[in-house]
């Protein structure tokens, strides 16, 4: 490679460049270097010019020096043997009288990730860590972290870690900030190694002595330094409530900083240490002071707003009182990017209450007439969520939905129908007067979800809709052409119709059961049809008590993540994890969660875990979608959405719920052996789970409904509409 690169070009651009790089005129050489860098920038390979560029490293011209250094950083790896020629200049520069050059030399040297260079780095680094100029010291501090990244043993051998620890007491706040950054970076590298013991010197444990130095430096250093110090403070474990209070009081002024990441960093520290604050009034005061800076973040550029909104969403799940009077600031602006609007919608619904539901509705109605289809749909969903959340506002929500249906814009109508279904589930038989309007739009529905929703409504109120059989027969005729979710709903609705009006609907139920068991290729549909058939033929009374049983009303979940995970994410405010609302393990590294890391995490957090667990249990069993959390709180310990309904009497059901059943058919049999028991169990669970696996019962809202056999078996899509997992 080497030989090839040097021998090859006799003409062409690189050849000319080489000639110029070796020119006797300074300007010509400098110009050539610029052209080399330009070529590098556009992606041309100029690595062959390595020795020629290197010759120009020793220069009085700082710009030229920087360019050569830049070239070195990029191509050192391709020419590991030649890099050694640069060492001399680096070492000499690190002793230069100009601090800018000293810092530049040491900074670049640590960026060249070639073993041979690294071995020469130690002694200049040693010197620069004690340089008289703070600019050099702050650069050197970060170099230690760079060195640790390459060769940890060199850092330990040379005692650089101890020196860093001493530098936390440096007189210059910028040096302190970079030192903290370096130590934290090393800490992260060390903890990501599988074999770290708690006594690893690379771990950066923050003692109370360090705490005080950090709190002092916090007020004096630059914005980015503050971010680094705040992240370190977030890791500190306070000794008692006095100390927690002290930290909160010292960090609160940072809310006034113009840099949004300082503000979010401060929010993070306060949220963490507020847990230890026992003074009720102080907690209140902290929460009150948190609101204005969070609102101000909404005047930032859209990308920053988005990060803020994602974090505000988490904060509201933890403390719904933070922004209770501020719903209006989340109203969407016409020009907001869609990703901002979507987050705002979610937060608006979270903040909705009796007193502001009118303002919210007129706003949502306005959004529903905008151009972007996706946003329109989400706005209509939000209306449904508001209806489910606020009992007193439900009627007004329904009126708005009717107005929207009257527009006859296809996707608006369909979405509104889906939303109406949820409202019927929350307020059974309250809005029956709406049903004719919905049915009038039957012809226009072409999306499976909307169809399925309307069919469910027809089935549910089959006894009150005179021509229910006519309406349903439309779908029975086209049964095999419909999508599975529509088929399932048609099946259930027809059975309901039959149970309400056995005299007139014998024929239709017969035909639908026939078609479903014979001509349908979905096992779910077939199985459900079989269950109904058998149920109807053995004991119509039991069928009635199963199919038409009372269903628990649905609610809007207060959290979208499990309580333990929520606490973890709150502790990570402003990080990617909090923005994605997923634990870091799920997206870094392999994207897979190893048992080792989970285990280690459990060990580390054991104490805190027990208190969190207690809290989590109280905060009602929310089942998480996240498998990681099953590790923290096994299903048997915690009443999950399923367990909470207490239908665990039969062994089969227990098996099903724990997901241990080896043969689903056994369970089915044992369930049928007991048809007279609690009506609310088996087939529902069966149909949802037996073949689809436990996964489809994952969400907390719909679970109560899912247990009921004949309610719409919630397809994942339908779960989402309620969950509002935008």
């Amino acid at each position: 490679m080497n030989v090839f690169a040097r021998a090859a070009p006799k003409k062409g651009e690189n050849f000319e460049l080489r000639a110029d790089l070796n020119s006797e005129y300074k300007d010509k050489r400098k110009d050539a270097i610029k052209r080399v860098i330009a070529n590098m920038t556009v992606g041309k390979d100029v690595s062959g010019l390595f020795p020629d560029v290197l010759k120009n490293m020793q220069t009085e011209d700082i710009e030229q020096k920087k360019l050569v250094y830049l070239y070195l950083i990029n191509y050192a790896k391709t020419q590991p043997d030649l890099v050694i020629l640069a060492v001399n200049t680096f070492v000499k520069d690190s002793d230069d009288s100009n601090p800018l050059i000293r810092a530049l030399a040491i900074r670049t040297m640590a960026c060249i990730r070639v073993e041979k260079i690294i071995d020469y780095l130690s002694s200049p680094l040693q010197k620069c860590l004690h340089d008289e100029n703070p600019y050099v010291r702050k650069t050197a501090a970060l170099c230690v972290a760079k060195l640790y990244d390459l060769k940890p043993e060199l850092v330990l051998e040379n005692g650089f870690l101890d020196q860093l620890h001493e530098m936390i007491s440096d007189s210059n706040p910028m040096v302190v900030a970079n030192t903290v950054t370096a130590l934290s970076d090393i800490h992260v590298s060390a903890t990501s190694q599988p074999s770290t013991s708690s006594s690893d010197p690379a771990l950066f444990t923050i003692t109370s002595a360090i705490l005080n130095k950090l709190l002092i430096a916090l007020n004096e250093c630059s914005e980015w330094g503050r971010v680094a110090i705040l992240s370190a403070l977030a890791r500190y474990e306070a000794q008692d409530d006095k100390e927690s209070e002290h930290i909160c009081e010292r960090v609160v002024p940072q809310f006034q900083h113009a840099n949004g990441s300082v503000v979010l960093g401060a929010v993070r520290v306060i949220m963490i240490h507020m847990r230890g604050v026992r003074r009720e009034d102080l907690t209140k005061q902290l929460v009150r002071k948190m609101a204005p800076p969070l609102v101000t973040l909404l005047s930032s550029p859209p990308e920053v707003q988005w990060v803020a909104l994602r974090n505000i969403n988490l904060l509201l799940q933890k403390r719904s009182d933070i922004l209770s009077n501020e719903m209006r600031v989340f109203f969407c602006k016409y020009n907001d990017p869609l990703y901002v609007k979507v987050e705002k919608l979610d937060i608006m619904v979270r903040l909705a209450n009796d007193s502001n539901v009118d303002a919210l509705l007129s706003e949502l109605k306005e959004y529903a007439s905008e151009v972007d289809v996706d946003f329109v749909r989400r706005s209509i969903k939000a209306i449904g969520q508001a209806a489910i959340k606020i009992d007193s506002g439900a009627e007004r929500c329904v009126n708005v939905l009717l107005d929207l249906i009257a527009t006859r814009v296809s996707y608006v109508v369909q979405e509104a129908v889906v939303v109406m279904k949820d409202i019927f589930r929350k307020y059974p038989s309250t809005y029956e007067g709406v049903i004719p309007t919905l049915c009038a739009n039957l012809e226009e529905l072409d999306e499976p979800e909307a169809k399925a929703s309307l069919i469910w409504i027809i089935g549910e109120y089959a006894n009150k809709i005179d021509n229910a059989d006519e309406l349903l027969s439309i779908f029975v005729e086209t049964f095999t052409e419909e999508s599975y979710s529509v088929q399932l709903q048609t099946l259930t609705a027809v059975v309901k119709l039959f149970l309400y009006k056995p005299d007139t609907s014998q024929a239709i139920v017969q035909s639908v059961l026939n078609t479903a068991t014979k001509d349908c290729d979905s096992p779910d549909v077939r199985d459900r049809a079989y269950i109904y058939w058998r149920l109807l033929s053995t004991d119509p009374g039991a069928a009635k008590s199963v199919v038409l049983a009372h269903r628990p009303p649905i609610t809007l979940p207060r959290t979208t993540v499990a309580p333990a995970l929520l606490n973890e994410l709150i502790g990570e405010i402003s990080s990617l994890a909090s923005v994605y609302q997923k634990p870091a393990e799920t997206f870094i590294g392999q994207g897979r969660v190893g048992i080792d890391s989970v285990q280690r995490k459990n060990d580390l957090a054991d104490d805190r875990q027990s208190t969190q667990k207690a809290l989590a249990t109280v905060a009602a069993g929310q089942q998480s979608e996240n498998l990681l959390d099953f590790d923290d709180e096994p299903a048997s310990d915690q009443p999950t959405g399923l367990a909470a309904t207490q239908v665990l009497q039969t062994p089969a059901a227990v098996n099903l719920l724990q997901g241990t059943s080896s043969n689903p058919l056994d369970d089915l049999v044992s369930l049928f052996g007991n048809t007279s028991m609690t009506p609310a169990i088996a087939p529902g669970i069966g149909s949802a789970n037996m073949f689809g696996g436990m996964g489809s019962v994952g969400s907390p809202v719909v679970t109560p409904v899912a247990q009921h056999p004949l309610s719409p078996a919630p397809a994942p899509g339908q779960q989402e509409d309620l969950l509002g997992l935008f």
Binding site: K30, I37, A38, T41, G43, D61, I62, E63, Q64, K66, L67, L70, L100, I101, P134, Y135, L142, K146, D149, N172, M174, N219, S222, E223, W224, V227, P253, Q254, Q256, H257, A258, N259, S261, G265, P292, P293, V295, T296, P302, W306, V307, R328, V329, K333, Y334, Y339, V342, S362, K365, E366, V371, D374, V409, S574, L576, A577, V579, I588, Q590, G591
Partner: protein, 435 residues
């Protein structure tokens, strides 16, 4: 923490890049745009941060460029996004415009800036005034340039030894009004975003103290205010202001940077009456023509005047042959914005004016029949006036040499970036019923 920072054109081609850590190969930059297209194809929104195969892509848009950072760790998203914005600001201040061409022309200096602004993935010095002191457009000789003290000083924003013959300070108090009026004419949301901007031409290391008619300060110091005092809801300060002092006794004390900077910003969410009220009646004869009648009213005191008022009213995209008649000012059709703009140089307080517009419409309607309901937006500037009533009571300047300095104060109220009214109503269509 960012492993790599790159600037890309809209086709996803990297124009310039800098790798800070070795853990993300630069080839991942090329994957950025295809990933975005994939996400869009799946019908999802492209968010500023997303993760793919263990790599986190964090990006912002600046006109026709993407500024992208890559990271493998669970990095601080807010920090990186703000850094990217700061980077674009610094580059704009260096090159006036940040676009493909200015990047190609200035790659040498951009590399220098990238090297100085971030180290090992952590943001360092991002103040463009300080950077300009030691990273200059002209090439420099070795002995002259040293890191300015300010890079590491406790006072990292001001260099020592500044001298002016005449010591002056100019204070601009600028309030931007954002509001949203719904179709009934009610104000749905309003806020005032205020900023105190300074132009500082002072010698040495002056200590400044700014006094405002801040209600909280009056309360804490027990002084009774003469006249009106206002409640600032959320105040943000330039990093020169001592935050802990403000927290203690609401004193705004600082050593200012040299030249122009924004000292503080604040927000008030008090209800604001629309200062410039606009409403439009629309008569839409589909397939032939559309007519507008627009009314503007200045709802502020007679002694004030709004300057450079611009009213944007949107029209159907396929409208043609515009005809305008206005009782004051000029009207222009801007087909690229699908709107017409009514410009009024000076609009006196309490006055109102009318204008009429007439457009032809094609007789054939396009397939997509969705009507956009773009709100009316307004731009204006009212000098010598603040909506909030904020006042600068004093600005004390103390320097050890004891010179006298002159402070000048100016007040302006203007539209914010979202001053919109949904008051363009079609005749015949019932206004949305109040609930």
């Amino acid at each position: 923490m960012a492993s790599l920072v790159a600037i890309l054109d809209l086709k996803g081609k990297p124009l310039i890049q800098r790798s800070y850590r070795d853990d993300v190969p630069s080839s991942y930059i090329e994957r950025f745009l295809p990933l975005i297209l994939d996400i869009e194809e799946e019908g999802q929104q492209v968010t500023p941060c997303f993760s793919n195969q263990g790599i986190n892509y964090i990006h912002i848009r600046h006109s026709n460029l993407y500024l992208l950072a890559l990271s493998r760790r669970d990095s601080n998203a807010a920090e990186i996004i703000l850094f990217l914005h700061r980077l674009s600001q610094v580059l704009v201040e260096y090159f006036k415009e940040l676009e493909e061409e200015s990047i190609r022309d200035n790659f040498v200096i951009i590399y220098e800036l990238l090297d100085e602004m971030m180290d090992f993935g952590y943001p360092q010095t991002t103040e463009s005034k300080i950077l300009q002191e030691y990273i200059t457009q002209e090439s420099h000789k070795l002995e002259i340039v040293r890191p300015p003290m300010a890079v590491t000083n406790a006072v990292s924003w001001r260099s020592e030894g500044i001298r002016y013959r005449k010591n002056e300070v100019f204070l601009d108090v600028i309030e931007s009004v954002n509001l949203l009026v719904n179709a009934n004419g009610n104000v749905v949301r309003s806020e005032i975003l205020g900023a105190v901007k300074m132009k500082c031409y002072l010698s040495g290391m002056p200590e400044l103290r700014l006094g405002l008619n801040d209600k909280v300060m009056f309360e804490t110091t027990g002084r009774t205010s003469r006249g009106k005092s206002i409640e600032l809801e959320d105040v943000k300060f330039h990093q020169c202001v001592r935050l802990s002092r403000f927290e203690n006794d609401r004193t705004i004390s600082f050593i200012p940077p040299d030249g122009e900077f924004e000292l503080m910003s604040y927000r008030l969410s008090q209800a604001v009456k629309p200062l410039v009220w606009v409403e439009a009646a629309i008569e839409n004869h589909k397939g032939s023509r559309i007519e507008y009648m627009v009314k503007v009213r200045a709802q502020f005191k007679r002694r004030s005047t709004a300057n450079n008022v611009e009213i944007y009213v949107s029209v159907p995209e396929d409208a043609d042959t515009p005809k305008f008649r206005a009782s004051t000012g000029t009207v222009q059709y801007a087909p690229d914005k699908a709107a017409f703009i009514w410009k009024i140089k000076q609009l006196g307080g309490g006055r109102d004016f009318l204008m009429r517009a007439h457009f032809g419409l094609p007789s054939v309607k396009s397939e997509q029949d969705v009507e956009k309901r773009v709100p009316i937006t307004v731009k204006f500037e009212i000098p010598y006036f603040t909506v909030s009533g904020i006042q600068v009571r004093y600005l004390k300047i103390v320097e050890k040499s004891g010179y006298q300095a002159l402070p000048w104060v100016r007040y302006i109220t203007q539209n914010g970036d979202d001053y919109s009214l949904r008051t363009a109503l079609e005749k015949g269509s019932a206004p949305i019923v109040p609930m």
